[in-house]
């Protein structure tokens, strides 16, 4: 009896030990449904960059080279000091580390990354632009950002020999902008009264000549931005190991916290409802009850952005777009409605490492803060918070954070594109 008791005890201890060890490693194997979810997030499933029919030079290498030069050129500004790269810094995954962008003045929102935006039908936090080229133009004339005017930028293309030659090779002969009585020093429609007055005095034909070149500046910058793509991260290596059924590789790549965090990410934490697909974004608009910036009224987000993009002469359906009407499906079938009040575009999670602060006004500094917010899901200040409380424990939130950190990877783009082009070239 005593002997059998000892055997039972030993058996129990061995079983308990096995259970304990099993729990402390991978909790349970991935189910088939989970493997499908994991595959859907894997960068290997990312299709080639979709065409941009609104930009006829989108995939022209010469346009990308000129766009590269334009992106890093501070002459594209009112004070000669602000290039796109001032806020979209390659070393910070094309963000700036600030709550809100700071150039000539203070921008209204947080600087989003550019990496992977070629896949998005909508640009800016509120989606008020529907192409990369149209997006690239707005900051150039925003007084708080580049603070210049389109006449000035068009003249830069006409006067810089390299820009001029490159431009004419792509788009044909530039109009003659040398007559200052027709084409003054500075002119642009919009908020600057002097520039606006000069713009209004111009003939509509001359305005059109300027607009055409201005638009093409955006299209060249967009051709460059299309090259900024995400690279495989440690997460993607783990998924490859899962898909290969390679248990040893899985254990070498991810620790327990990361595996558990990933499991929460695709299941109980419901992150993939919005952060889905290989870019971890559905590029859609959601109100998640993010508090407004201290001292500011809540941002109406997509409900304003949708109205702006529909009325924008630089949208896909406008005559500056190269797309046939039927290629503008996203704009033609755009959603309206009350759900969009306070909604912001879902950001990719592939650039988290160097992109703090987060959210549309940089309201959150750390991933822990964000996870705590989604765990609580407080009521929205404006509109309706789509999310609901998750009820996750502290340790589960830490596991989610551990997983999110595995998505870090530098852009897949070769280093030549990540620094200013050599001026000797």
């Amino acid at each position: 009896m005593r002997r059998s008791g000892v055997i039972l005890a030993i058996t129990a201890i061995v079983l308990f030990g096995a259970w304990w060890f099993y729990e402390s490693r991978d909790p349970v194997p991935w189910s088939d449904i989970e493997i499908d979810k994991l595959r859907s997030l894997w960068i290997g499933g990312l299709p080639p960059v979709p065409p941009d029919p609104s930009n006829r030079v989108a995939d022209d290498r010469r346009a990308a080279e000129l766009g590269h030069k334009l992106f890093f050129d501070p002459r594209l500004s009112g004070n000669g000091n602000v290039s796109c790269a001032v806020c979209h810094q390659p070393a910070r995954r094309f963000t700036d580390g600030l709550p809100k962008g700071r150039a000539i003045g203070l921008s209204k929102r947080n600087t989003p990354s550019i990496v992977g935006t070629a896949y998005s039908p909508w640009l800016f936090w509120d989606g008020r632009k529907d192409s990369q080229w149209s997006q690239a133009l707005e900051p150039l004339e925003n007084p708080a950002e580049h603070g210049g005017n389109r006449m000035q930028y068009v003249r830069l293309i006409a006067c810089d020999p390299e820009y001029r030659a490159g431009y004419e090779a792509l788009f044909g002969t530039l109009p003659d902008f040398s007559d200052y009585s027709r084409f003054p020093e500075a002119a642009a429609p919009g908020v600057n009264p002097e520039w606006n007055a000069a713009w209004q005095l111009m003939s509509s034909e001359d305005q059109e000549r300027i607009n055409e070149v201005f638009i093409n500046i955006g299209k060249m910058i967009a051709a460059y931005e299309r090259l900024l793509l995400p690279a495989p991260s440690r997460f993607d290596a783990y998924i490859e190991a899962v898909l290969d059924g390679d248990d040893i590789a899985q254990q070498m790549i991810f620790n327990d916290a990361e595996i558990r965090g990933l499991r929460l990410f695709i299941n109980d934490a419901r992150c993939t409802e919005c952060h889905n697909g290989p870019l971890f974004t559905n590029n859609e608009f959601h109100n998640t009850g993010i508090l407004s910036y201290p001292g500011e009224v809540p941002d109406r987000g997509r409900s304003n952005g949708m109205r702006k993009v529909l009325g924008d002469p630089f949208n896909c359906l406008g005559h500056y777009s190269d797309a046939a009407e039927r290629r503008c499906a996203e704009l033609s079938f755009v959603r309206t409605g009350i759900e969009l009040v306070g909604a912001m575009r879902t950001p990719s999670l592939r650039n988290l490492e160097d992109t703090s602060p987060y959210m549309h006004k940089g309201q959150m500094i750390s991933l822990a803060e964000i996870l705590d917010h989604y765990n609580r899901a407080p009521p929205a200040m404006i509109g309706h918070n789509e999310s609901s409380p998750l009820g996750l424990s502290r340790s589960e939130l830490r596991q989610l954070e551990a997983f999110l950190e595995t998505l870090a990877a530098p852009p897949a783009t070769t280093t030549q594109w990540l620094a200013p082009p050599d001026s000797a070239n």
């Binding site: 039972l8 079983l15 697909g277 559905n282 590029n283 079938f333 959603r335």
Partner: protein, 148 residues
């Protein structure tokens, strides 16, 4: 658990409890089932006047990609219905939100077929597409369930 082992004399029942703990997670995994396919079916309208089926440009339908459907509309007796007004809405009941786009019927293709453009889904999960049909003074609606 460790304290429990130290303080109590070990019985066979404890072994069974341990075994149960070991088996429980496995039974939960086994209980997870596959996603039911909804394609290739037809749906009867709420008032029983029409039958609707659809085919999608994307097969299978994947999230985050705009595409079109061809919706086939026929009477309950199988006669194709031409020139009906078709209104397509939809959403995820569990999330209390609609489609991310505003799809429309853009063309009648003949034989009861209607081109529905601007379909896009932005989340995996259970969706409901509501097709409202207005024709010859008759109004009816069809609810199409869709698991993505």
């Amino acid at each position: 658990m460790v304290n429990y082992l130290k303080k109590n004399k070990f019985h066979a029942s404890t072994l069974w409890t341990t075994a149960l703990f070991l088996l429980l997670p496995l039974s939960i995994i086994a209980a997870e089932s596959g996603i039911e396919a909804t394609q290739g079916k037809s749906w009867k309208s709420a008032a029983g006047k029409f039958r609707v089926s659809y085919s999608s440009e994307l097969e299978p339908i994947i999230i985050n990609q705009i595409h079109h459907w061809i919706l086939h509309l026929e009477t309950i007796d199988g006669e194709p219905v031409p020139d009906a007004e078709i209104i397509v809405t939809g959403g995820m009941p569990a999330h209390n939100h609609g489609l991310p786009t505003s799809p429309r019927s853009t063309q009648y293709l003949g034989n009861g077929d209607y081109q529905i453009e601007g379909m896009r889904f932005h989340m995996a999960g259970y969706w409901e597409i509501t097709v409202t049909i207005n024709t010859g003074g008759v109004s009816d609606m069809v609810l199409i369930p869709l698991e993505l």
